[in-house]
């Protein structure tokens, strides 16, 4: 545990009504790290990500990002969210806007760029994810893989310090997964700090610095991918890995 961790999640707990969804979750990441969060459905992975950008409110614990306490009531959540990009399982592209419109909205309305600057930035980000030829397409005119890449470009356009990915490929047809993972890998190579919920094991193995296994709102086990995947210490981890391996 280094004291200058870029993202430090410590003892975070969250309840929805009487149901405890997160139970003392802790992990930390350095700048440029990739952490992969795995766990069964309903184990609290999405909730954990959402606590980091305050789309969900943790009731206990602390999360610091770049030295700032995220959970403090004084934190400007809009400012926080500018610094933390999020990519959703179901893309959540703005249905009424073109690819460019989707990516430009944040720079225009949140960062206050001019219309033209925002469009230029959008075009650059879309090119970065390989969609230079789809600038004027609407979400409903794009394939799932293309939509998700627009989703990534939309998050990148805010120039975030940290990217959150919530199962970015699990709504995609298998043949479209590759193009999204490729974009994510390129981001890793550029040094982006990424917290990723995914069950794409080969991706995790290739790029993760650490894998965190969450079950029932608790961190069961965490470690480098080769260790966690090859020699899990906990029986529950092993069982879970077997289960998802048999799906591949």
């Amino acid at each position: 545990m280094s004291d200058d961790a870029f993202l430090r999640v410590s003892e975070v707990s969250k309840w929805y009504g009487d149901e405890q969804v997160l139970d003392g979750v802790s992990f930390e990441m350095d700048r440029g790290d990739v952490t992969v969060l795995i766990g069964p459905s309903g184990s609290g992975k999405s909730t954990m990500l959402r606590c980091v950008n305050r789309l969900a409110e943790a009731q206990e614990g602390s999360i610091t990002l770049d030295g700032e306490e995220v959970l403090s009531p004084d934190t400007d959540v809009d400012e926080l969210r500018r610094d933390v990009g999020m990519v959703f399982q179901s893309f959540n592209l703005f249905a009424h806007l073109t690819a460019t419109g989707n990516v430009a909205l944040g720079p225009r309305r949140v960062l206050g760029l001019s219309e033209e600057e925002a469009r230029d930035r959008a075009a650059a980000q879309l090119e970065r994810v390989g969609l230079a030829d789809q600038l004027d397409s609407y979400p409903a005119e794009l394939s799932g893989g293309q939509q998700q890449r627009v989703g990534i470009a939309r998050a990148l356009a805010m120039e975030p310090k940290l990217m959150l990915f919530d199962e970015p490929t699990s709504a995609l047809d298998p043949e479209l997964i590759g193009e999204v993972l490729e974009v994510m890998r390129a981001l890793v190579d550029e040094g982006m700090t990424m917290l990723v919920v995914t069950h794409e094991m080969s991706f995790a193995r290739a790029v993760a610095d650490e894998v965190v296994f969450l079950d029932d709102g608790r961190v069961v086990e965490r470690g480098p991918p080769e260790q966690l995947f090859e020699r899990p210490e906990k029986e529950r981890t092993g069982r879970f890995l077997e289960r998802i391996a048999s799906h591949d």
Binding site: F88, N92, F94, A95, L105, G106, R109
Partner: protein, 308 residues
């Protein structure tokens, strides 16, 4: 299938030709109707540049003569002349009907959108919004107009700034009544559409740093208002017809004028048939217009008949 070889049946040809023929007829009728209205209105504003104010654009005798010359139409020549005699009064009444409907609809819209948003996303304001819509939708529109006109005597307190815009200040009372009432109905249609927008849209807006209100404004409403158009058109159509209730608080709109003429001439059937045709023309114009708007703003790639 290789090349169409089978000759088309007559039935198929009629089915194909029919829509376009019907369309041409409809467009021609619409052009005649609106052409007549616009020329009548402009004529009145210009103080009778085209025909003396209060006189038909075409002399009734001319029309009567023309009808009499056609064997099949000779029997209704006198009726035709009577209808032509009515046209100045009808055009004048229609002006108020159109203005009252249009202004009330637009003003009501700007009240309806916040009402709908409050209803879906508000806490306390959701209850206020609910109370407002239930009150306005749950009581008769005519009673609301009576309260504004007779009860509160609002015609006497029309602000000086807008007083005199219309020949009679009571028109403002009607506009206020239809605005407040229409807002409640419009809010219901818009609320349905707002609710149909996926929650993930707002989440995505908030995730890039938009506030909740900004997300609603930039993300939810542009979609919801599009989806609301078909059902919202109902309110447009209703308002055109309900605007006739303004006649009961002495607004000289279309219905009031026609009713007056019918009482004076005792030709109820002819007058109210023409009146019905007038409202039908207005309603058809409104719904066709909104269909066009709906097509124009449709989001590319999304099915035309998007399910809710």
């Amino acid at each position: 299938m290789a090349g169409a070889t089978r000759p088309r049946t007559v039935g198929e040809r009629v089915a194909d030709a029919d829509p376009s023929a019907g369309r041409i007829l409809l467009v021609a009728a619409g052009a005649l109707f609106w052409g007549w209205l616009l020329v009548s209105w402009v004529n009145r504003w210009l103080g009778g540049a085209i025909a003396p104010v209060g006189e038909p654009l075409v002399a009734p005798e001319t029309v009567e003569g023309a009808f009499a010359a056609v064997p099949g139409l000779a029997a209704v020549a006198a009726d035709a002349a009577f209808v032509v005699e009515l046209t100045p009064v009808l055009a004048q009444g229609t002006w108020l009907t159109v203005v009252i409907t249009g202004v009330s609809l637009v003003c009501g819209f700007f009240i309806a959108v916040p009402l709908a948003v409050a209803r879906v996303y508000g806490r306390f304001s959701a209850w206020l919004s609910l109370g407002y819509t239930e009150l306005l939708r749950g009581t008769p529109l005519l009673a609301q107009l009576f309260v504004l006109y007779y009860g509160l005597n609002l015609a006497a307190s029309v602000p000086a700034a807008v007083s005199g815009v219309f020949p009679r200040d009571v028109v403002w009372v009607a506009i206020l009544g239809f605005t407040l009432n229409g807002a409640a109905y419009q809010a219901e249609y818009i609320r349905g559409a707002v609710e149909s927008v996926d929650d993930g849209q707002i989440t995505a807006g908030r995730a890039i740093g938009l506030s909740k209100l900004e997300s609603i404004y930039y993300v939810v409403l542009p979609q919801a208002l599009r989806y609301a158009i078909p059902s919202w058109t109902n309110e447009f159509v209703y308002l055109i017809k309900y605007s006739s209730l303004a006649g009961f608080i002495t607004v000289p709109e279309l219905y009031y004028r026609a009713d007056q003429v019918a009482t004076e001439t005792f030709r109820y059937t002819a007058v109210f048939l023409v009146l019905g045709a007038m409202y039908l023309a207005l309603v058809l114009t409104a719904s066709k217009f909104m269909e066009r708007v709906d097509d124009r703003v449709a989001i590319p790639g999304l099915g035309v008949d998007r399910e809710r």
